[in-house]
Symmetry: C2
Subunit: 137 residues, 2 copies
DNA sequence: GGCAGAATCATCCGTTCGGGTGATGCGCGC
DNA sequence: GCGCGCATCACCCGAACGGATGATTCTGCC
Protein backbone atom coordinates (compact mmCIF):
# COMPACT_ATOMS: atom_id res chain seq x y z
CA UNK A 1 0.00 0.00 0.00
CA UNK A 2 2.79 2.39 0.89
CA UNK A 3 4.47 1.40 -2.36
CA UNK A 4 1.29 2.28 -4.23
CA UNK A 5 1.12 5.72 -2.65
CA UNK A 6 4.78 6.28 -3.48
CA UNK A 7 4.21 5.33 -7.10
CA UNK A 8 1.25 7.66 -7.39
CA UNK A 9 3.24 10.47 -5.79
CA UNK A 10 6.07 9.99 -8.23
CA UNK A 11 3.62 9.91 -11.11
CA UNK A 12 2.12 13.20 -9.99
CA UNK A 13 5.56 14.73 -9.58
CA UNK A 14 6.54 13.56 -13.06
CA UNK A 15 3.35 15.00 -14.49
CA UNK A 16 4.10 18.28 -12.75
CA UNK A 17 7.55 18.39 -14.32
CA UNK A 18 6.12 17.70 -17.75
CA UNK A 19 3.61 20.45 -17.22
CA UNK A 20 6.35 22.81 -16.19
CA UNK A 21 8.27 22.03 -19.34
CA UNK A 22 5.16 22.59 -21.40
CA UNK A 23 4.71 25.89 -19.64
CA UNK A 24 8.13 27.09 -20.79
CA UNK A 25 7.25 26.09 -24.31
CA UNK A 26 3.92 27.78 -24.30
CA UNK A 27 4.44 30.96 -22.34
CA UNK A 28 6.10 32.40 -25.41
CA UNK A 29 3.11 31.46 -27.51
CA UNK A 30 -0.19 33.14 -28.03
CA UNK A 31 -2.30 31.16 -25.52
CA UNK A 32 -3.69 33.13 -22.63
CA UNK A 33 -3.07 32.20 -19.01
CA UNK A 34 -6.72 31.28 -18.54
CA UNK A 35 -6.56 28.51 -21.09
CA UNK A 36 -3.29 27.36 -19.65
CA UNK A 37 -4.68 27.15 -16.13
CA UNK A 38 -7.81 25.44 -17.36
CA UNK A 39 -5.78 22.74 -19.07
CA UNK A 40 -3.72 22.09 -15.95
CA UNK A 41 -6.87 21.95 -13.86
CA UNK A 42 -8.56 19.55 -16.23
CA UNK A 43 -5.57 17.27 -16.45
CA UNK A 44 -4.97 17.01 -12.75
CA UNK A 45 -8.63 16.65 -11.97
CA UNK A 46 -8.76 13.69 -14.34
CA UNK A 47 -5.65 12.33 -12.71
CA UNK A 48 -7.29 12.70 -9.32
CA UNK A 49 -10.42 10.93 -10.48
CA UNK A 50 -8.29 8.10 -11.75
CA UNK A 51 -6.28 7.89 -8.54
CA UNK A 52 -9.43 8.00 -6.43
CA UNK A 53 -11.03 5.31 -8.53
CA UNK A 54 -8.00 3.08 -8.17
CA UNK A 55 -7.82 3.61 -4.45
CA UNK A 56 -11.49 2.99 -3.70
CA UNK A 57 -11.90 0.10 -6.07
CA UNK A 58 -8.87 -1.69 -4.74
CA UNK A 59 -10.74 -2.35 -1.53
CA UNK A 60 -14.15 -2.76 -3.11
CA UNK A 61 -12.99 -5.46 -5.50
CA UNK A 62 -11.37 -7.50 -2.75
CA UNK A 63 -11.96 -11.23 -3.27
CA UNK A 64 -14.14 -11.35 -0.11
CA UNK A 65 -12.58 -12.25 3.20
CA UNK A 66 -14.44 -14.78 5.26
CA UNK A 67 -15.27 -13.77 8.79
CA UNK A 68 -13.06 -16.21 10.68
CA UNK A 69 -14.08 -14.78 14.04
CA UNK A 70 -17.72 -15.63 13.43
CA UNK A 71 -16.84 -19.15 12.35
CA UNK A 72 -14.68 -19.61 15.43
CA UNK A 73 -17.27 -18.18 17.75
CA UNK A 74 -20.10 -20.26 16.32
CA UNK A 75 -17.95 -23.38 16.14
CA UNK A 76 -18.67 -24.02 12.48
CA UNK A 77 -16.47 -26.73 11.01
CA UNK A 78 -14.77 -26.94 7.64
CA UNK A 79 -17.17 -29.54 6.33
CA UNK A 80 -20.16 -27.50 7.37
CA UNK A 81 -18.80 -24.55 5.41
CA UNK A 82 -18.53 -26.67 2.30
CA UNK A 83 -22.15 -27.69 2.71
CA UNK A 84 -23.13 -24.10 3.36
CA UNK A 85 -21.49 -22.88 0.18
CA UNK A 86 -23.26 -25.43 -1.96
CA UNK A 87 -26.46 -24.65 -0.10
CA UNK A 88 -26.16 -21.00 -1.11
CA UNK A 89 -25.78 -22.08 -4.71
CA UNK A 90 -29.25 -23.53 -4.58
CA UNK A 91 -28.34 -27.21 -4.55
CA UNK A 92 -30.55 -29.86 -3.00
CA UNK A 93 -29.33 -32.15 -0.24
CA UNK A 94 -28.96 -34.93 -2.76
CA UNK A 95 -26.86 -32.79 -5.09
CA UNK A 96 -24.70 -31.57 -2.23
CA UNK A 97 -24.14 -35.16 -1.19
CA UNK A 98 -23.04 -36.10 -4.69
CA UNK A 99 -20.73 -33.11 -4.86
CA UNK A 100 -19.05 -34.00 -1.57
CA UNK A 101 -19.18 -37.77 -2.09
CA UNK A 102 -21.34 -38.43 0.95
CA UNK A 103 -24.89 -39.57 1.43
CA UNK A 104 -27.78 -37.09 1.57
CA UNK A 105 -28.28 -38.20 5.15
CA UNK A 106 -24.85 -36.88 6.06
CA UNK A 107 -25.66 -33.61 4.37
CA UNK A 108 -28.80 -33.45 6.46
CA UNK A 109 -26.77 -33.92 9.62
CA UNK A 110 -24.34 -31.16 8.67
CA UNK A 111 -27.24 -28.90 7.85
CA UNK A 112 -28.96 -29.67 11.13
CA UNK A 113 -25.77 -28.65 12.94
CA UNK A 114 -25.56 -25.50 10.84
CA UNK A 115 -29.16 -24.58 11.61
CA UNK A 116 -28.37 -25.09 15.25
CA UNK A 117 -25.24 -22.94 15.21
CA UNK A 118 -26.75 -20.21 13.06
CA UNK A 119 -29.93 -20.29 15.13
CA UNK A 120 -32.24 -20.75 12.14
CA UNK A 121 -34.62 -23.41 10.95
CA UNK A 122 -34.66 -23.19 7.17
CA UNK A 123 -32.05 -23.28 4.46
CA UNK A 124 -33.04 -19.91 3.10
CA UNK A 125 -32.65 -18.40 6.55
CA UNK A 126 -29.26 -20.06 6.88
CA UNK A 127 -28.13 -18.41 3.64
CA UNK A 128 -29.39 -15.02 4.76
CA UNK A 129 -27.79 -15.26 8.18
CA UNK A 130 -24.48 -16.56 6.86
CA UNK A 131 -24.38 -13.67 4.44
CA UNK A 132 -25.06 -11.12 7.15
CA UNK A 133 -22.25 -12.64 9.22
CA UNK A 134 -19.85 -12.44 6.27
CA UNK A 135 -19.54 -16.17 6.21
CA UNK A 136 -20.86 -16.14 2.66
CA UNK A 137 -20.15 -13.46 0.02
CA UNK B 1 -27.11 13.33 -12.90
CA UNK B 2 -26.61 15.97 -15.55
CA UNK B 3 -27.21 18.57 -12.89
CA UNK B 4 -24.50 16.99 -10.76
CA UNK B 5 -21.99 17.12 -13.61
CA UNK B 6 -22.90 20.73 -14.25
CA UNK B 7 -22.35 21.62 -10.62
CA UNK B 8 -18.98 19.91 -10.57
CA UNK B 9 -17.97 21.66 -13.78
CA UNK B 10 -18.91 25.03 -12.36
CA UNK B 11 -17.00 24.24 -9.18
CA UNK B 12 -13.91 23.39 -11.19
CA UNK B 13 -14.27 26.55 -13.27
CA UNK B 14 -14.62 28.63 -10.12
CA UNK B 15 -11.54 27.00 -8.64
CA UNK B 16 -9.64 27.76 -11.84
CA UNK B 17 -10.63 31.41 -11.60
CA UNK B 18 -9.49 31.56 -7.99
CA UNK B 19 -6.21 29.98 -8.95
CA UNK B 20 -5.76 32.48 -11.74
CA UNK B 21 -6.31 35.32 -9.33
CA UNK B 22 -3.81 33.80 -6.94
CA UNK B 23 -1.38 33.55 -9.81
CA UNK B 24 -1.54 37.28 -10.43
CA UNK B 25 -0.90 37.88 -6.77
CA UNK B 26 2.03 35.54 -6.57
CA UNK B 27 3.91 36.01 -9.83
CA UNK B 28 5.29 39.23 -8.44
CA UNK B 29 6.45 37.40 -5.33
CA UNK B 30 9.49 35.28 -4.73
CA UNK B 31 8.02 31.82 -5.27
CA UNK B 32 9.37 29.89 -8.17
CA UNK B 33 7.21 28.45 -10.93
CA UNK B 34 7.92 24.92 -9.79
CA UNK B 35 6.28 25.47 -6.43
CA UNK B 36 3.40 27.23 -8.11
CA UNK B 37 2.78 24.36 -10.52
CA UNK B 38 3.13 21.84 -7.74
CA UNK B 39 0.48 23.59 -5.69
CA UNK B 40 -1.94 23.67 -8.61
CA UNK B 41 -1.29 20.02 -9.32
CA UNK B 42 -1.81 19.04 -5.72
CA UNK B 43 -4.99 21.02 -5.37
CA UNK B 44 -6.60 19.74 -8.52
CA UNK B 45 -5.53 16.18 -7.88
CA UNK B 46 -7.23 16.37 -4.50
CA UNK B 47 -10.26 17.85 -6.18
CA UNK B 48 -10.23 14.98 -8.66
CA UNK B 49 -9.99 12.40 -5.90
CA UNK B 50 -12.92 14.01 -4.18
CA UNK B 51 -14.98 14.15 -7.36
CA UNK B 52 -14.11 10.57 -8.22
CA UNK B 53 -14.99 9.43 -4.72
CA UNK B 54 -18.33 11.22 -4.90
CA UNK B 55 -19.10 9.77 -8.29
CA UNK B 56 -18.19 6.18 -7.53
CA UNK B 57 -19.65 6.14 -4.05
CA UNK B 58 -22.87 7.64 -5.23
CA UNK B 59 -23.53 4.43 -7.09
CA UNK B 60 -21.87 2.12 -4.60
CA UNK B 61 -23.62 3.50 -1.56
CA UNK B 62 -26.93 3.84 -3.36
CA UNK B 63 -29.82 2.00 -1.67
CA UNK B 64 -29.47 -0.59 -4.44
CA UNK B 65 -30.95 0.01 -7.85
CA UNK B 66 -33.09 -2.81 -9.11
CA UNK B 67 -32.39 -4.09 -12.58
CA UNK B 68 -35.57 -2.92 -14.28
CA UNK B 69 -34.47 -4.27 -17.65
CA UNK B 70 -34.23 -7.80 -16.30
CA UNK B 71 -37.64 -7.53 -14.69
CA UNK B 72 -39.11 -6.20 -17.91
CA UNK B 73 -37.44 -8.83 -20.02
CA UNK B 74 -38.46 -11.69 -17.76
CA UNK B 75 -41.96 -10.32 -17.29
CA UNK B 76 -41.80 -10.39 -13.52
CA UNK B 77 -44.71 -8.60 -11.89
CA UNK B 78 -44.84 -6.34 -8.86
CA UNK B 79 -46.49 -8.94 -6.71
CA UNK B 80 -43.94 -11.54 -7.65
CA UNK B 81 -41.17 -9.19 -6.57
CA UNK B 82 -42.77 -8.77 -3.17
CA UNK B 83 -42.88 -12.53 -2.79
CA UNK B 84 -39.29 -12.79 -3.99
CA UNK B 85 -38.06 -10.29 -1.43
CA UNK B 86 -39.70 -12.13 1.44
CA UNK B 87 -38.41 -15.36 0.00
CA UNK B 88 -34.85 -14.05 0.18
CA UNK B 89 -35.40 -13.18 3.83
CA UNK B 90 -35.91 -16.85 4.53
CA UNK B 91 -39.65 -16.82 5.11
CA UNK B 92 -41.83 -19.83 4.52
CA UNK B 93 -44.77 -19.78 2.12
CA UNK B 94 -47.14 -19.52 5.06
CA UNK B 95 -45.27 -16.56 6.54
CA UNK B 96 -45.12 -14.82 3.17
CA UNK B 97 -48.84 -15.32 2.79
CA UNK B 98 -49.49 -13.76 6.19
CA UNK B 99 -47.21 -10.84 5.37
CA UNK B 100 -49.01 -10.13 2.11
CA UNK B 101 -52.50 -10.99 3.41
CA UNK B 102 -53.01 -13.83 0.94
CA UNK B 103 -53.27 -17.59 1.29
CA UNK B 104 -50.19 -19.82 1.11
CA UNK B 105 -51.68 -21.26 -2.06
CA UNK B 106 -51.45 -17.88 -3.73
CA UNK B 107 -47.85 -17.57 -2.65
CA UNK B 108 -47.21 -20.94 -4.18
CA UNK B 109 -48.68 -19.76 -7.47
CA UNK B 110 -46.55 -16.63 -7.50
CA UNK B 111 -43.51 -18.71 -6.70
CA UNK B 112 -44.31 -21.18 -9.45
CA UNK B 113 -44.45 -18.28 -11.90
CA UNK B 114 -41.17 -16.95 -10.55
CA UNK B 115 -39.47 -20.31 -10.90
CA UNK B 116 -40.75 -20.42 -14.44
CA UNK B 117 -39.49 -16.94 -15.33
CA UNK B 118 -36.18 -17.34 -13.57
CA UNK B 119 -35.76 -20.81 -15.04
CA UNK B 120 -35.13 -22.50 -11.70
CA UNK B 121 -36.86 -25.13 -9.63
CA UNK B 122 -36.02 -24.34 -6.02
CA UNK B 123 -36.36 -21.32 -3.79
CA UNK B 124 -32.67 -21.22 -3.00
CA UNK B 125 -31.90 -21.21 -6.72
CA UNK B 126 -34.41 -18.43 -7.23
CA UNK B 127 -32.62 -16.32 -4.62
CA UNK B 128 -29.25 -16.97 -6.19
CA UNK B 129 -30.42 -16.20 -9.70
CA UNK B 130 -32.32 -13.09 -8.69
CA UNK B 131 -29.21 -11.84 -6.95
CA UNK B 132 -27.04 -12.47 -9.97
CA UNK B 133 -29.53 -10.57 -12.11
CA UNK B 134 -29.51 -7.62 -9.70
CA UNK B 135 -33.14 -8.18 -8.93
CA UNK B 136 -32.20 -8.70 -5.29
CA UNK B 137 -29.44 -6.84 -3.41
C1' DG C 1 -67.92 -6.43 -25.79
C1' DG C 2 -64.27 -9.46 -25.61
C1' DC C 3 -59.57 -10.72 -24.80
C1' DA C 4 -55.09 -10.82 -22.17
C1' DG C 5 -52.78 -10.57 -18.18
C1' DA C 6 -52.76 -10.29 -13.12
C1' DA C 7 -54.03 -11.81 -8.76
C1' DT C 8 -56.48 -14.74 -6.02
C1' DC C 9 -57.55 -19.49 -4.25
C1' DA C 10 -58.04 -24.52 -4.40
C1' DT C 11 -56.93 -29.67 -4.77
C1' DC C 12 -53.96 -33.59 -5.68
C1' DC C 13 -49.68 -35.83 -5.52
C1' DG C 14 -44.97 -36.64 -5.05
C1' DT C 15 -40.51 -34.85 -3.48
C1' DT C 16 -37.75 -32.41 -0.39
C1' DC C 17 -36.76 -30.65 4.10
C1' DG C 18 -36.35 -30.46 9.08
C1' DG C 19 -36.31 -32.62 13.72
C1' DG C 20 -35.26 -36.38 16.47
C1' DT C 21 -32.64 -40.34 17.61
C1' DG C 22 -29.09 -43.59 17.44
C1' DA C 23 -24.93 -45.76 15.77
C1' DT C 24 -20.07 -46.28 13.96
C1' DG C 25 -15.31 -44.92 13.09
C1' DC C 26 -11.39 -41.76 13.33
C1' DG C 27 -8.07 -38.60 15.26
C1' DC C 28 -6.49 -35.77 19.07
C1' DG C 29 -5.34 -34.66 23.71
C1' DC C 30 -5.02 -35.60 28.78
C1' DG D 1 -6.89 -45.85 27.21
C1' DC D 2 -10.71 -42.93 27.48
C1' DG D 3 -13.37 -39.10 26.29
C1' DC D 4 -14.46 -35.58 22.99
C1' DG D 5 -15.36 -33.62 18.73
C1' DC D 6 -15.99 -34.48 13.99
C1' DA D 7 -17.70 -36.97 10.12
C1' DT D 8 -20.35 -40.47 8.45
C1' DC D 9 -24.80 -42.96 7.78
C1' DA D 10 -29.56 -44.66 8.82
C1' DC D 11 -34.55 -44.53 9.95
C1' DC D 12 -38.94 -42.31 11.07
C1' DC D 13 -42.33 -38.82 10.82
C1' DG D 14 -44.48 -34.64 9.92
C1' DA D 15 -44.11 -30.25 7.68
C1' DA D 16 -42.85 -27.64 3.78
C1' DC D 17 -42.20 -27.36 -0.91
C1' DG D 18 -42.87 -28.00 -6.11
C1' DG D 19 -45.64 -29.31 -10.30
C1' DA D 20 -49.90 -29.57 -12.58
C1' DT D 21 -54.36 -28.10 -13.31
C1' DG D 22 -58.46 -25.44 -12.99
C1' DA D 23 -61.45 -21.73 -11.37
C1' DT D 24 -62.83 -16.82 -10.37
C1' DT D 25 -62.36 -11.88 -10.40
C1' DC D 26 -60.62 -7.48 -11.95
C1' DT D 27 -58.27 -4.27 -14.93
C1' DG D 28 -56.57 -2.41 -19.13
C1' DC D 29 -56.68 -2.47 -23.98
C1' DC D 30 -58.31 -3.08 -28.83
Amino acid sequence: MKRTILIYSLAIAAAALVLQWIEYQYTVRVFSTEIYIGLIALLFTSLGVWVGYKLTHRSAAAPFERNAQALEYLGITEREIEVLELLAEGRSNKEIGEELFVSPNTVKTHLAHLYDKLDVSRRTQAIQKARSLNILP
